[in-house]
Amino acid sequence: MKSKFHPDKSGYFGQFGGAFVPELLFPNVKELEDNYIQIIESEEFQQEYKDLLKEYVGRPSPLYLAKRLSEKYGAYIYLKREDLNHTGAHKINNTIGQVLIAKKLGKTKIIAETGAGQHGVATATVCALMGLDCTVFMGEKDIVRQAPNVARMKMLGATIVPATSGSKTLKDATNEAIRYWIQHPETFYMIGSVVGPHPHPDMVARLQAVISEEIQWQLKEKTGKTTPDTIIACVGGGSNAAGAFYHFMDDENVELIAVEAAGLGVYSGESAATSQLGEVGIIHGSKTILMQDEYGQIKEPYSISAGLDYPGVGPLHAFLYESKRAAFMNATDREALDAAYELTKLEGIIPALETAHALAVLPKLTLKKNQVVVINLSGRGDKDLETFIKHLE
């Protein structure tokens, strides 16, 4: 399948992407670049990957017609239940794939960054499964606000390293992971989103593409058509959105909506709506859209959800934005909270705060009666209970 939304051989999506890494990382990135497609496309990998996704993760995740939500908004709203995956989010699709790639490359030590802790848990989980050494970098601030996930990672045997530099959140955890990688080139950096130097964005997108692949045949069973009218997903770095969009990117009839976190308001100074506030720049080895000041210093984003407060966005999404293939919307903290409470009451599903941002745009859309909308329900809200309880009134 050839698509204009796949990267060229230098890892560029339009003007975005590339591999802006110090010479120190060149051999690591090159090793992965030379091998990842061949490994992913091999029969052996596909067999192991699919088996684990089925038997261990619990895929396929259901595509659930949310009747009461549909009734309220006057359309057919389907929820892609990534929240029902083992470890509670889409993140495990990626780590299952990457751990198999790491093993094929003979790597025994795994490092990862995490924001909300979902990717950290998914990484620690597959490392426990495969008996590999696991170190997770996490911002000091996030360690406090995502305590349950920190406990889970520790129980799974991972070493947690607090990132104490900069804003002490996801961006800094990623910096620390990359610095550690430079100093320990024998480790495998299991990146958690469609960010970082080529080939990481493409590799992670391919591993998350199982989401849109399933949506195709599940929709066919339910509606007779393989394509929805609209797909909605939240975007921090953008891995769940990349997975939900993947097989539909070339079909212009499918409306793609990416939802960013607007924090206290897009222009409040406390926001993570990168596409609205950012300009072309380089972060974590990738040229993309980036929140920065006039001198190129990276700004500290804000969102109530630790998984969305990232000052950049994956290069694929920067390209989807620039080419206008996807519509970029946003939701504030308050709108996300309200959407989470609404889904809980109408459907009995407590979504992750990140996911709640995707749900929060429903009231802003003009939906037609027969419109088929798929919302990627990327994660469950157990980890966010404290925040939900605090804001309940």
Binding site: S10, G18, A19, F20, V21, P22, E23, L24, F26, P27, S165, G166, K171, N175, I178, R179, I182, Q183, H184, P185, E279, V280, G281, I282, I283, H284, G285, L290, Q292, E294, Y295, G296, Q297, I298
Partner: protein
Amino acid sequence: MSSIFNLLEEKPVNNLSIYFTAGFPELEDTAKVIQELSNAAVDFIEVGLPYSDPLADGPTIQKSSQKALQNGMNLDVVFDQLLEIKATNNTPLVLMGYLNQLLKYGEEKFCQKVVDCGIDTLILPDLPMVEYENHYQSLFNSYGLNNVFLITPQTSIERILKIDSYTQSFIYMVASSSITGAKGEISEEQLAYFKRIKSMNLKSKLIIGFGISDHQTFSKACEYGNGAIIGSAFIESLEKNGVEKTNTFVKSVLN
């Protein structure tokens, strides 16, 4: 060829280069530090442009960058400071920063400012060779600027030879697989790597950096390279002992 190239041709041994972060410890210290380093007979000076997310730097330089940014340092301020000392400063300067700074400031504007300050050599650790070949080589050439490439223990021979052919100033030989920061000693493994590179008889001069901190590590590095760069150890000295003790620090390295 660059000012540093000429310098290294004239004096091919025991060159000492010192890195410091512009605007550290105080915003107005940039000129003072350069003056002190010149007085102490440092061969050339690496001026660090403080960056919010310096991927190749260890905790010492990260902290100094954060402090400098808090002090109000930015590219306009540093270019003004460097322009002001241009007439009186005789020690060659090299600028070190991250590619995003140049990108956001405007590539052409950035290059012009560098030239205006009398500087002709840049170190951009996150500028990969392929991007250099595709775009930056011709941009830098048009301004008479040259880019310093880094090599590491993992850099392939083929790549080193290519870097050697692009080099117009010196090759920055990273002493180990590491980010910047004082390490203490030089290991057997590092020595083997130093010997391996030295035996390649490259046309370019080699300056060794990352983990060089004192007289012992400096002298060892100078046995294999044409000189060495000290950064974090000097930043620590600046923080602890102040700008006034720069001469004492440099003497302790040269001894």
